[in-house]
Amino acid sequence: MRLEPLPNPSPLRSVGVTLLALGLAFALVGGVFWAYGLGPLEAYRTMLEGTLLDPRGWQEVLRRTIPLLLIGVGLSLAFRTQFYNIGAEGQLLLGAVLAAGVALFLPLPPALSLPAMALAAALGGALWCGLAAWLKNRLSVNEILTTLMLNYVAQSLVIYLINGPWRGKDVRGYIYSDRFAEHQQLPVLLGTNVHWPTLALGVVLALLLQLLLFRSTLGFRLRVVGENPGAARYLGIPQSRAFLVVALITGGTAGLAGFGEIAGIHHRLIEPTQLSSGYGFTAIIVAWLARGHPALVLLTAPLMGLILAGGDVLKVALNMPFRIVDVFSGVMLFALIGSELFLHYRLRLR
């Protein structure tokens, strides 16, 4: 066997290879189900029945799509620029912390409350990610490690706040903050958990960032930096500034996702593991699947939303640990990056 380069592969090839990779990932996760002592087909059927074949399941999928969409659009931009932000989870938490801080402690006219919370959330996420970009630019510290480490720090920060200074007055046993006022809560589609303003924001951001990347001078700069750092240096396009810009954007959208979760669903600051069921990590796959096109995240986010909702179903119906979602994410990521070789090469038997 040998690899034969394809000078100009068709776009269809990329779709086919991606689908094959996903199929392989599902088969491999099936193996993990089996090792756990669960029939793979039964597991997948349970997931499907609890999500797409159930009206309430649809809402769950949609609800989980929202943070994935918001984080995914930012990450697709970051990965395109070769800034590997793995810390969206922490940036989401920071967004939630700042939004909750505004809601709980900043007296504002009701009409301004939600916008101010959103803004604070975006700022929180942006700063948390910006810190990693700054360390990368100034001390050439690998951003994968820093963003990841900052996840854990953000988790500790949230726990500290809701266990200490921000602990709610009406709390018994559990730890969480006080409940937000009515005007600090996002409207939802009737009878569901789908906070539609955030969903709309995600759709707009996906289209806007797509436009930014391919139709603006800033996007052109980012693409040059991402495709060829040497050329960027030669042209006088500073790589460090590009990193900072995408870090602020990708951190900001992750922060917005945190705002959506607490203002749309939980209405208070709660424990990090309940606040985000690994959205920041799952969104990595959302972005990787979209292959650097923010608009494609509109398709890939619901797919991963389906998997997260399915993981929930397995947890409730079959009492399976939610760790299954980590397995899904990891295996899909393996399959996706492993398949990339076949985007530009063809396997030839000889």
């Binding site: 360390l135 510290v141 994968i144 490690l145 990841l148 393996f334 990056i337």
Partner: protein, 289 residues
């Protein structure tokens, strides 16, 4: 004096899993492959070791537990090797995926061992001495043997090594699998010796610290001993201070992660990245033959 000795002993005990995992990561990085999946491989090793030692209702085999842990780590690393060496995928992202899969699979399959005690467990002395011996062995391997020279060459300039008939892929696979086996061993130390039990998430970020430590010690196995003891001391201090000071426990919980960032920043300040093997993180593809 007794206090100091006690601190040092605890530091060694804390530092041992770090040292073993760090040496494993160092070994595959010297051969040119980064594996960020140490945390996941440690979790798998910890679970495999515990499962074999526990067996059915506590009658497992303690002697087989350690090889089982190394096998689990090695197999997980083999997956990383396949994706990054054969399929030439991004090593950083693959390592991240390995972390997710390792933690996920260990958490899933380990559910039935949660909270079970292990009455019979190995002493820590041999592990501590073994880890230090391993560091010396690696130092000797790199500086004085043909195999070590070959591994280093593959990490510095794989094209040159390939031209001279060295099997770049086999050497890199070997280093990656051996590194994974050591990560598995480090995990087994946690679940068999350090805290003889299994809990999901018991690796507690040690794997990430081990990865950062490799950079901090400049890819030098001997310096890794001091790096691990240093971190062991920090852990010890963390435990000592936790109860006594008014500092909230969450601050201590995030300390190791902040330390990793600090260590990396310090390494950056010292220009430590310059010591990295030349071909680190780059997949090797030879031209047409």
């Amino acid at each position: 004096m007794e206090e100091v000795l006690n601190a040092l002993a605890r530091a060694l005990s804390f530092g041992t899993p770090l040292l073993i995992a760090c040496l494993g990561a160092l070994l595959n990085e010297r051969a040119g492959v980064v594996n960020l999946g140490v945390e996941g491989m440690m979790a798998l090793g910890a679970l495999a070791g515990f499962a074999v030692a526990y067996g059915e209702g506590g009658n497992g085999n303690l002697w087989l537990a350690v090889p089982a842990a190394m096998l689990a780590g090695g197999l997980a690393a083999l997956l990383h090797g396949f994706v990054t060496i054969t399929l030439q995928a991004n090593q950083f992202v693959s390592g991240l995926a390995l972390s997710m899969v390792g933690l996920g699979v260990a958490g899933l399959l380990g559910k039935r061992y949660e909270g079970l005690p292990l009455f019979d467990h190995p002493p820590e002395g041999p592990f501590i001495l073994g880890a230090i011996g391993l560091a010396l062995l690696l130092a000797f391997l790199f500086s004085a043997t043909r195999l070590g020279l070959a591994l280093r060459s593959v990490g510095e300039n794989p094209a040159a090594a390939d031209l001279l008939g060295l099997n770049v892929l086999a050497l890199r696979y070997g280093a990656v699998v051996a590194g994974g086996a050591l990560a598995g061993l480090a995990g087994a130390y946690l679940s068999l010796v350090y805290r003889p039990s299994w809990t999901d998430g018991m690796t507690a970020g040690l794997g990430w610290i081990a990865v950062a430590l490799v950079i901090f010690v400049g890819w030098n196995p001997l310096r890794a001993i001091f790096g691990a003891v240093f971190f062991g001391l920090l852990y010890y201090l963390q435990f000592r201070l936790q109860g006594q000071s008014g500092i909230p426990s969450e601050v201590f919980a995030s300390l190791p992660y902040l330390l990793v960032i600090l260590v990396l920043a310090l390494s950056g300040l010292r220009g430590q990245q310059g010591n990295a093997p030349e071909a680190l993180g780059k997949p090797y593809r030879r031209g047409e033959r």
